[in-house]
């Protein structure tokens, strides 16, 4: 793409400012099944998103066609969009940030394996899983993925920003069968260098998690003390992470609207959003509007302290962007999203938390998160599974139950955050969290 041509044409057309955002994604995925390479996928895609301010209105057009000859047609379409938009939102395209903090650098040292090494790894993992226990009947999923993502933002005000991220991830699934009952589990691990990878430990964790699910039954409905294990807590916290969004708070459709400065969670809960956190896979020095990112305390000992903002949501609430204007893909509109956001870990292990709980349920997995929660009220009702704890020790597994309640009410009943925060490849993560009481539906 000839960016200068597009910027010049936009200026001549009368655009007050114009931005070219490009995202490049390349991926190699190896899937293994039944002793051989099952599928191999390789890709290379560049997407271009154009944004411009015309008559004070923000307009957008995204394309995967690298076609400079379309410039007149595209700019005409964007001009027509401006005529249709009737919102009073202030449109902002940022100039370069001269006083932006020094960019943080990732400490990851990736050692990329060649195809033969990947195939050997997958072959070995499959053999180890199948040999682990007679009840393990199938490797239900086995995949190695290498992916590269780059962003470039160029605008008519002089902004030139770019970065690149890389990750390689192993994901495996195992299925166990006993007396007609089938249970499965999945495990993923970000692996910087295969030389340091503990294949036996990985297989042991996957298989033990799977075998432990066998014999699971429901429980009588009632109020239980509950611990959400780190993965389950992460999925619930991530599903409700839009409650911190200035876009939703500004529209009055977040349960946290009007509650800055109030105790909204238990005092054991601290939430930090730090896009520059180098423990995560994707370190972001600027958001998708080119605004520098920064570490923020969102919830301080239960008190809601910081609303996350993009330029648009900030303008609506008469404040400044927090550098949280991110897109879900290059083609989507800029929204407000947490980036490398977590509940800060505490000091206790999961075992110590179970000991303190005495009797209760550890929820290890949640399902139906895309449908079973109400983002306006915070109400939720979700299928879950896990295990019972009796006298502080793990008892039988539990399945086909639901956990239900109101997210804010539940977070006020948090009694302890564990020490097991694990980012894996997530941009939102949590340690295990214990709650004084939750409504469980079962038999």
């Amino acid at each position: 793409m000839n960016k200068e041509l597009w910027l010049k044409a936009a200026a001549e057309k009368g655009f007050e400012s114009f931005e070219i955002y490009q995202a490049f994604h390349a991926e190699k995925t190896y899937s293994w099944f039944d002793g051989q390479l099952d599928s191999f996928v390789t890709s290379s895609v560049t997407g271009t998103a154009l944004r411009g301010i015309y008559n004070k209105k923000m307009v957008g057009f995204s394309t995967e066609k690298d076609d400079d000859s379309a410039v007149v047609k595209v700019l005409d379409a964007m001009e027509q969009q401006a005529g249709a938009i009737t919102s009073d939102d202030e449109a902002v395209i940022f100039p370069p940030f001269e006083d932006a903090p020094e960019p943080a650098a990732s400490s990851r040292k990736w050692v990329r394996p060649d195809a033969a090494q990947v195939k050997e790894l997958l072959s070995q993992i499959e053999k180890k899983i199948l040999a682990y226990d007679p009840a393990i009947r199938q490797v239900s999923f086995l995949q190695w993925t290498e992916q590269t993502d780059s962003r470039q933002i160029t605008n008519s005000l002089g902004m030139r920003a770019e970065d690149t991220g890389y990750a390689q991830v192993l994901v495996a699934g195992a299925a166990a069968v006993r007396e007609g009952e089938v249970k499965d589990s999945y495990l993923e691990e970000v692996i910087e260098d295969l030389a340091g990878f503990d294949a036996d430990g990985f297989v042991k964790k996957l298989c033990e998690d799977t075998l432990a699910k066998l014999g699971a039954e429901s429980v009588p409905s009632g109020q239980y003390r509950v611990i959400f294990k780190n993965e389950a807590m992460t999925s619930l916290f991530a599903a409700f992470s839009d409650i911190f969004s200035g876009e939703r708070i500004g529209k009055g459709i977040s349960p946290l609207a009007g509650k800055v400065g109030e105790a909204v969670f238990s005092e054991v809960i601290n939430v930090v959003d730090d896009p520059r956190c180098d423990k995560t896979v994707r370190l972001m020095n600027y958001d998708d509007e080119g605004h520098p990112t920064a570490k923020k305390t969102v919830v301080d000992r239960g008190v809601f302290t910081t609303v996350l903002h993009s330029s648009r949501s900030a303008a609506r609430m008469n404040t400044k962007s927090t550098g949280n204007g991110f897109k879900s893909s290059y083609a989507s509109a800029v929204d407000v999203r947490p980036m490398n956001c977590c509940i800060l870990p505490g000091a206790k292990t999961l075992e110590e938390m179970c000991g303190e709980m005495g009797d209760g349920i550890v929820i290890t997995a949640l399902a139906g998160l895309h449908a079973g929660l109400d983002h306006v009220t915070g109400d939720f009702s979700l299928q879950c599974s896990g295990y019972l704890v009796k006298d502080g020790r793990r008892d039988r597994s539990v399945t086909l139950i639901t956990v239900a309640g109101n997210y804010l009410d539940m977070m006020k009943r948090a009694v302890c955050a564990g020490n097991d925060l694990d980012w894996k490849y997530y941009t939102i993560a949590c340690p295990s969290v214990a709650f004084a009481g939750c409504a469980i539906s079962g038999e």
Partner: protein, 470 residues
Amino acid sequence: MLELKKLEEYLCACMNSDADFAEIYEEEETKEIISMLSGKVESVNDTVTAGIGIRLYKGVQSVYAYSNSAQESEILGLIGDLTGAIGKPDEAGTGKTPEETKITLTRVEYENRHPARIDFRTTPLEEKTALLTRATDAAMAVDPRIVKVQATLLNVHQDVQIANSEGRLISDTRVRTRMMAEAFAKDENSFVSGGDRPGAGMGLEFFEETLPEKIGEEAARVALVNLSAKDCPSGKMPVIIDNAFGGVIFHEACGHALEATAVAKNRSVFAGKLGQQIANTCVSAVDDGTIPNAWGSENIDDEGNFQQRRVLIENGILKSYMIDRLGGRRMGMEPTGSGRRESYQYEPTSRMSNTFILPGNSSFEEMFEGIEKGLYAKKMGGGSVNPQTGEFNFAVGEGYLIENGKITHPVRGAALIGNGKDILMNIDRVCSNLERGQGMCGSSSGSIPTDVGQPAIRVTSITVGGTANE
């Protein structure tokens, strides 16, 4: 789209390897999303998705490459990656004669079953925003407690062309239109929402029969019901799931487990059960991708095979799976035209189209007979399933308590959970009021439009997860 000769050249290069099948999928899609909040147009987003996906098979091994670039050097580079992965010719060659790698394509012509009349790409923006204004105004006029309305218009025009080493060259154009309205209702105690999201495989003429006003009014009606709803009780109880989007129960509890993706690798509770009874005898179900202008219809699937009407279950007996080309190879069965994908960025796999339970004999009133305490799920939210274990869940969007055979009061916050193989056996009554509803289905080949559907069904016992502390 690539010219025939160029496609033949590329396919020939693909087959000059250990591959026994090659396919080139091309796509160009224009999508427009217009969003309105309480009467003001917030955004208009136009997106052009365009790229190519190339797939090679060797037996049941598959290699796939995709790119948005139409440059010859890029495409040849992808083919090089793929032939390298699946096995390049060694010094002795592939063992194939030049005739065996030569591809001669023949274009397959057919009659378009899903014509579109009013093209959004040439319709002025103000006519499209006027549709959203009509829905918004109608919702706001329902009741003063409706305080906010979010309305979105989605328009899609997708051209695909598929060529393969069997000499088949075929194209399709898919046009889809959908409006999504969400109304927010508020009183002194609660702030809740309700929605309506109809769509079809046609152009803007969709709104000649499905009036935007009706969409706005329906969203407002659901929001007001939820405003007066009480927390839902918990436990096992009989549940009546009404028609249209209620069919998500069959989609989740059974449909996904009948896809070759799960069945071919023995990862489904229904694997190996063709000809066996898997549902109560009152249940018959189909997956029909041929319904004219339906949301989940298309002339051909994304592997270039014609869409079909597949009878999945007949009087409780499992009759067919939904099979894509690779799944067919694994299962030793013919593909059923079920290979679908979100875009060229996904390898196709077996997917549903318009999936629904066929009408039964019970009247709506008969469904409620004999229920002392139960749940009437008038509208469903989404759900999900683990095909390996059969465990599913879904959310109830609009629900009512049934007491002594009568609907008493609305309830909110209900989730239904269970196991697919159990629930199909526990359907004891099927009503005659078949309707379909529109949704987006997510799976390994991305998010695709599908219709779900059913007449009202009665399940004798299902676990209801509610928010009431009872």
